[in-house]
């Protein structure tokens, strides 16, 4: 592993809580690692496991899924669906050989700018330690010829 490895983290977040939390980190001028790229979705319930696989395939070294705290979902129950999906998805990850430590799941509310900043720093640090995720990229050529997306 080279010393200059800068991980790429793709974050799938809901617009009502975590996206707003990241906005708050911004308005509060909290500094955090620039390694994260945010994809805004209406709700964590909208996040398909396919998005996560696609991000890893495209070169993300870690993926974050974050939404409203349990009970606070703007859409009443979307985050519960996301949570249940995650427990099922874990089994699939094991099957595909993707280490679970590449995927992070969190709740960040619109009021938790500091939590968001800490979270990103933490994930960046952890990913830096485990090194780049290359298994998928090696397969990428094969996948690209087969994928319709």
């Amino acid at each position: 592993m080279s010393e200059s490895f800068e991980p790429k983290i793709v974050a799938f977040v809901c617009t009502y809580c975590t996206y707003a939390g990241a906005d708050l980190a911004g308005t509060s001028r909290l500094k955090y690692a620039p390694n994260v790229r945010i994809v805004r979705l209406p709700c964590t319930g909208r996040i398909s496991p396919m998005f996560i696989l696609k991000a890893l395939q495209k070169g993300a070294d870690s993926v974050l899924v974050s939404g409203c705290h349990p009970g606070d979902c703007h859409f009443a129950a979307g985050n519960y669906h996301a949570r249940r999906r995650w427990t099922v998805f874990r089994a699939l990850l094991a099957f595909t050989g993707i280490p679970e430590e590449r995927i992070h799941f969190s709740w960040v509310s619109a009021a938790e700018g500091a939590k968001f900043a800490d979270l990103i720093n933490d994930i960046t640090e952890k990913t830096r330690k485990i090194g780049p995720f290359t298994q998928y990229q090696e397969l990428q050529k094969v996948i690209e010829t087969q994928s319709s997306y």
Binding site: K8, V10, T15, Y19, A20, A22, D23, A25, G26, T27, R29, L30, K31, Y32, P34, R37, I38, V39, R40, L41, P42, C43, G45, R46, I47, S48, M50, F51, K54, A55, K58, G59, A60, H74, F75, A76, A77, G78, H81, R85, A117, Y149
Partner: protein, 657 residues
Amino acid sequence: MAKIGVFVCHCGENIASVVDTERLVKEISEHPGVAVATEYKYFCSDPGQETVKRAIRENNLTGVVVSACSPRMHETTFRKACAEAGLNPYMLEMANIREHCSWVHSDKEEATDKAIEITRSLVEKVKRNNNLKPIEVPITRRAMVIGGGIAGIQAALDIAGAGREVVLVEREPSIGGHMSQLSETFPTLDCSQCILTPRMVEAIQHPNIRVMTYSEVESVDGYIGNFKVKVRKKARYVDMDKCTGCGDCIQKCPVKKIPSEFECGLGKRTAIYTPFAQAVPNVPVIDKDRCTYFKNGRCKICEKTCQIENCIDFEMQDTFEEIEIGAIVVATGFQIQDTSIYGEYGLGKYKDVITGLSFERLASASGPTGGVIRRPSDGEIPDTIVFIQCAGSRDPSKGVKYCSKICCMYTAKHAMLYAHKNHDGNSQIFYMDIRAAGKGYDEFTRRAIEEDGAEYLRGRVSKIYEENGKLMVRGVDSLLGKPVEVAADMVVLATAIVPQPDAKETAKKIGIGYDEYGFYNEAHLKLRPVETATAGIYLAGACQSPKDIPDSVAQASAAAAKVIGLFSRELLEREPVVASISDATCAGCFGCQMACPYNAIDVRDINDRNGNLIKQVADVNPGLCQGCGTCVTFCRSNSIDLAGFTEKQIFAEVMAL
């Protein structure tokens, strides 16, 4: 062929000091599909927006990415600009390079790289955006107010006053709610009935208000502007249209010893009854469980007494009515806590330990004692009354962590009323803190102490027991640090305000959220306090949290203003972020139906031209769909997509990162 315009904003120095906007513009302009890329100091300013508009017109842009602040800040601004330049407003994406980039990073190189990636990813998304139109939904301009207490009455009067129809549903035989039980009200000591009854009469006589008493909401279907509410009209056994309210039947009813709910059991009522003399409507109901005829099949004295033919009808049944409603105000009120959980206070065991609400009836001129404060056990006028505040409130061990808000005030009022009616009386008040925040409130409690001689003892009461005909109240004065014992003739408990016992079931029927206690949740505690998370349903009064009369009335008027605002429009416009299902590929598993938190997915039959069923598919009701997208992810055959966040858009966004 996509022609995307990218507009990179400096936001003064906010972005440009960290992000190399020149490099961003240069690199993004080389990205496939980008027709224009330009930078400016403030794109949200008038000249900035003009630049965007001109670029759209001159280059026939098919999509716009504004690389600037959060979409939560200026998405609306730039959507409007797009629309004014003739571009569909949903062909815009905001690349957030301020909150998510320049403000949180300091390394210029890294920040610029990130800003380029963010912008590129949204260029790829916007290429796949579709022209969308806000969804227009018609509105039924009729409101329903659930609960006929002071909050419900106020909301109904305000909405009706704006010229809209209102259906006011109350489950008791009369409107009026808890306020009608009160004697005088703080902080002005005006008589509750005197200020309430005119409003009750105004409500029932208002041409725009339909009052449905002795009725309950059975179910609520539909969505904002288009609810269908099923109301159960409980059998009254008295014809509302024929009854003149003469009261002869009540006089003659032989069952006279039923404890009156309205009098908190301190007075009696008959089996055919109106809850109180000023009831609105002044039409009695028959208490089926207590009526001799219903129990034994004989009596019917009321029917014989009644001078109007067929006015009393023992065959009457509950009836149901479905009403189309555009907006709902929930004003279902509160109950007082069942104080039997305080065994040490002996409520129920000692007749002279009563609740604050019972004290209201004793002090009320229309109450069972005609306004003379007499103790329930022997009718004697008490010389010493002990009031215990926070009897249930702010006591997590009894399940109520919150402050009931009104008890400090009404206890001070009780002490005053007692002093005014019984000049030699001695009132002792055990309290934790005196919370008298409100207009004229602190002055009021001071007056109770300074002018009317209420003695406040800071501390909790541990036990009440009877000795030599006195109630011995044992507690502690925590300011003196000494135990105290007071011999009282009567004890009044300021019991906690709790939600209606069936508050949670009601919330489920209506489709709104509630907190751990059963108080209804507002959409936002500070900024949207009268709205619920369900569009078109509003809150008023103590069903949301303990409230006094001024607060309840203020919130009721606020809820009414929301309803009137909604009804001022011909059509409702909503964000077109809704799901749609492909008939061709839907397998009809209806998993999406289970996933949907809004019951927005129906089953639709697809028939051939002869009317034979070919298959059943899931169908999204765009009026109900809120656009969370949970169903999209759930769908096994990939038949559902969410406008504005389609699979194609998101995959393109991810692929460009």
